[in-house]
């Protein structure tokens, strides 16, 4: 007898639908391990700020439309401290890094500052403060605000996929961008700081003749992106003042040891990161000059309409 008052399911049951398994292909790296991505860096884009900068890194080649790294920095100051602050003969630098709610691709971020943002803010502040002549600005505050608009995918490390470098890339970009903004603000500094990332990765299996045991040594990659598809063993980010050859910040992740009893992996990582930072510095130099040259050209009245092209570097 069938029950006419209710809607019953089919009497002999159904088979659950089986979807074709989505083939998760890990991207294969296309860049040479020692080549850097092109950098877009432009200053004076935030009108109310004393100085500002915008930095963008393109995503790796196979996914031209996937998310990139986009960071804005704005600098306010030197301006008077709130009256509650104690007297200080130096300027007080505060750096605040914030991820935009839409910055991560699949997960919305909250508005409240979380632990990651607080951690990055402190590191950024440490990286910057050594470059700024704070003694020239007594009783004043210099505020640096960084907003990460887009952070090329992952920030949450997949445990089986090795070390996660997304945050390191963000920090390196933030250092470069903030230093450009500080220079744009006309604040006196002893040098510019640029950020650089390097990583030791597992050598790809299919790379030529790597089957013998001795060739399993990790490979050094400059400027790694989480979208590159490397399996990263360890990574380092530095803040580097190329003019004084001074490291203002060092942050490493992953296991770092001695290779073959010979090379120190930490040295390798640091050298790689410094190499990256030195190359990034060239872009930084051009970017901070650009606005000034534009101003000079305008004052001389021979500014062409196509002036102010972006600064891009391929290395």
């Amino acid at each position: 007898m069938t029950d006419r008052r209710r809607i019953n399911g089919p009497s002999e049951g159904t088979t659950p639908p089986v979807f074709a398994s989505a083939v998760v292909t890990k991207p294969t790296p296309t860049r040479a391990p020692d080549s850097l991505r092109k950098i877009f860096l432009k200053t004076s884009l935030t009108p109310p700020a004393t100085g500002s900068a915008f930095l963008e890194l393109p995503s790796p080649a196979p996914y031209p439309n996937s998310s990139t790294l986009k960071i804005t920095a704005s600098v306010y100051g030197p301006r008077p401290l709130p009256s509650s602050a104690a007297f200080s003969p130096h300027a007080r630098l505060t750096a605040e890094l914030k991820f935009a709610p839409f910055s991560t691709p699949h997960k919305r971020r909250g508005y409240v500052r979380d632990a990651v943002e607080r951690d990055l803010s402190v590191q950024l502040q440490n990286a910057l403060v050594k470059s700024i002549k704070t003694g020239a600005y007594p009783k004043s505050g210099i505020d640096v605000f960084i907003t990460v608009l887009d952070c090329e995918g992952g920030l949450d490390g997949d445990d089986d996929e090795g070390v996660e470098v997304g945050l390191m890339g963000v920090l390196a970009g933030a250092i470069t961008c903030a230093s450009a903004a500080v220079a744009d603000a006309g604040i006196e500094c002893v040098d510019l700081v640029s950020g650089g990332v390097a990583a030791l990765v597992k050598r790809p299996q299919n790379s030529d003749a790597m089957d013998t045991d001795g060739m399993n040594a990790p490979m050094l990659v400059l400027d790694p992106s989480p979208a590159d598809g490397y399996q990263i063993l360890s990574a380092a980010v530095v803040g580097y003042m190329a003019g004084r050859e001074e490291v203002t910040l060092l942050w490493t992740k992953g296991s770092v040891g001695i290779l073959d009893g010979e090379e120190d992996e930490l040295d390798l990582l640091m050298d790689g990161a410094i190499m990256t930072a030195t190359a990034v510095r060239l872009v930084l130099n051009e970017a901070v000059k650009e606005r000034m040259l534009l101003g000079l050209a305008r004052s001389k009245g021979k500014l062409k309409e196509d002036g102010g092209g972006d600064v891009a570097m391929s290395s």
């Binding site: 004076s44 030197p78 600005y137 220079a183 603000a185 002893v190 040098d191 510019l192």
Partner: protein
């Protein structure tokens, strides 16, 4: 000596040996080299008045790095303008009490600053003579614009200002009824409408 400088110097860029020039503004000395501190044009200038001691020696030129005025958009005031000891400022009186007048500094030197700095003029800094007879109420009123000199960076929140000079004091003031006042002498101003006299520490008109 005949060094060629880059068109635009960037922070940290070495410009010359410290022995060749005297460092001016926008530069610092590092490793016996004069390096730029800001983005700008390197410029040489001869010191205005060499001291007697230096006259015997060869006078070194001053190397500075300057930001071109048109480097930024025109509506943004030049940065780096903090009141320093000795700088002339214009300030607005915000409140007074028998011991001091609290002011907001809004012009430092010749430039309108982006932010206002709080300062105070203490009773003993109003004028140079008869300091004990100074009465703040007959020297300043809230709303007056005062030309003053910074004498100290002060405490945590205030710059200390002084008006102890003929050229310093109230430059713009309004009477109780809101009429503009004009100066009569160094201690009196008169309303332009009623002629009523009010007391101020008046700056000598230029």
């Amino acid at each position: 000596m005949a060094t060629t400088f880059p068109n635009i110097a960037i922070p940290g860029q070495p410009l010359a040996f410290a022995t060749s020039y005297t460092p001016g503004t926008g530069v610092h000395v590092f490793n016996d080299q004069i390096c730029a501190s800001i983005v700008g044009q390197p410029q040489l200038s001869t010191p205005a008045s060499p001291s007697r001691k230096e006259k015997d020696q060869e006078v070194k030129q001053v190397l500075s790095v300057l930001r071109p005025a048109s480097g930024k958009s025109e509506d943004v005031a030049l940065v780096n303008l903090l009141p320093q000891v000795g700088s002339m400022v214009l300030a607005r009186v915000t409140r007074i009490n028998p011991r001091q007048a609290t002011v907001e500094i809004f012009v430092v030197g010749d430039t309108v600053s982006n932010d206002e700095f709080q300062g105070i003029i203490r009773q003993q800094d109003v004028r140079a003579t008869e300091k004990d007879k100074v009465r703040i109420f007959s020297s300043f009123r809230p709303g007056d614009i005062v030309r003053a000199q910074v004498i100290s960076l002060g405490d945590q929140s205030n710059y200390y200002l002084s008006t102890a000079s003929n050229s310093l004091g109230v430059v713009v003031a309004h009477s109780d009824s809101g009429d503009p006042l004009h100066p009569l002498n160094w201690r009196q101003m008169a309303s332009s409408r009623t002629g009523a006299i009010e007391e101020r520490k008046v700056a000598k008109p230029i």
